[in-house]
């Protein structure tokens, strides 16, 4: 959804009757929508409205789903990583232990190796999903839309005065 405040830059800058209104402007003095998704540029011949539409709920859901799945799988990798680290710490050594290599140590050794493999695989899959989500975020970003409004101003004398009319086409 885009909320637009259409006003000349001078008015938006806070002069005259617009003083006190909190109409946001960009650094060039152009009016901006409240949510910053559109800017309005007014000159003597046309009004240019540039806006960026919101992502669709489906797009947001897919991106969030992929990123969430990536984080979940990455978290699983972290679990296996930490478990493998603990098990490895129980058997790894550089000094003489004065202990025999028992089936219990062999089981810990095997489990640590397996879990390190699981961690690597989970990190790879989780990372790939996160990269995919990041790429999709960039690729599916809605493109900026530009609407140009041409004002038409007319003036005609009337009895005792004049009539001024304005129309916009776009």
């Amino acid at each position: 959804m885009i909320a637009l405040v259409i006003a000349p830059a001078s008015a938006a800058a806070g002069s005259g009757g617009m003083a006190g209104n909190a109409t946001p402007t960009d650094e060039l003095g152009n009016a901006k929508s409240d949510d910053g998704t559109a800017t309005v540029q007014v000159n003597s011949t046309q009004i240019v409205i540039k806006s960026t539409p919101d992502r669709t709920p489906k797009n947001i859901a897919i991106l969030a789903g992929v990123a969430g799945a990536g984080a979940l799988v990455g978290g699983l990798g972290l679990y296996y990583h930490l478990d493998a680290r603990d098990l490895s710490g129980k058997v790894s050594t550089a000094d003489f232990t004065n202990r025999p290599w028992t089936p219990t140590l062999q089981a810990a050794y095997d489990k640590a190796n397996h879990e390190a493999t699981y961690a690597t695989v989970a990190y790879s899959i989780g990372g790939a999903l996160l990269v995919g989500a990041a790429v999709a975020l960039i690729v599916t970003a809605p493109s900026e839309e530009t609407t140009i409004i041409h004002p038409h101003v007319g003036a005609a004398p009337t009895r005792g005065g004049a009539a001024v009319s304005a129309a916009w086409s776009f």
Binding site: S88, V91, L105, A116
Partner: protein, 201 residues
């Protein structure tokens, strides 16, 4: 955005790889049936897990006093007093050697005597047992049991006998393989120490 993410994957991947066990050579003693960590081999001379090229075959450094497989050739434990000091004998059972016999005599006049025998061997090779028999070498008087105080070294297994003995009587201690832990015959040997002591019960 892609580069940092790929970097994270690489970092985590390397981190996970770093969590693999790393066991240096010569840090563990050989386990049951010459078990060693992956990429290592039991050096049957030192009982240590080492790099495969450095692994040597089984030796009997203290000598195997053969023949000692029958009552006439049984090795003497030595002269024991009624309350003796512990006498330790070191030997081994090589592949194909199924029996070592040791004989001892209880002196005259010893009252309420008991013999204590402790057999200590490596867990890496075939299991051994010790049996106390009469002088004929076959009549079993006592079989070994688990020692009340297990070996402080996990790489050694100890079996104990504590049995009353009569004065002026000869006995034989039989050391023989149990048949288990022999790696299917590939490690059907072991080094051992046999400690014999007379006391009272």
């Amino acid at each position: 955005m892609r580069t940092p993410t790929l970097g994270l994957i690489v970092v985590f991947g390397l981190g996970a790889a770093a969590c693999r066990p790393d066991v240096a050579y010569g840090t563990y003693e050989c386990g049951p049936e010459v078990a060693c960590p992956e990429g290592q081999q039991c050096d049957e001379t030192s009982d240590l897990c080492v790099a495969p090229p450095n692994a040597k075959g089984f030796t009997c450094p203290d000598g195997d006093l053969e023949p000692d497989n029958d009552i006439t050739t049984a090795q003497p434990v030595g002269t024991l007093t009624c309350v003796s000091t512990a006498r330790q004998l070191k030997s081994c059972l090589e592949n194909g050697d199924g029996l070592d016999l040791y004989k001892f005599a209880v002196p005259d006049g010893c009252a309420s005597s008991a013999v204590t025998a402790v057999l200590a061997s490596s867990i890496a090779y075939e299991e051994l047992k010790v049996t106390l028999t009469a002088a004929d070498g076959t009549t079993v008087i006592a079989a070994d049991t688990e020692c009340a105080s297990p070996s402080p070294n996990d790489a050694r297994v100890t079996r104990c006998i504590s049995a009353p003995v009569a004065a002026s009587t000869s006995y034989v201690l039989r050391v023989e393989p149990t048949g288990s832990g022999a790696c299917g015959g590939a490690c059907a040997f072991n080094r051992y120490s046999l400690t014999v002591q007379l006391g009272t019960h």
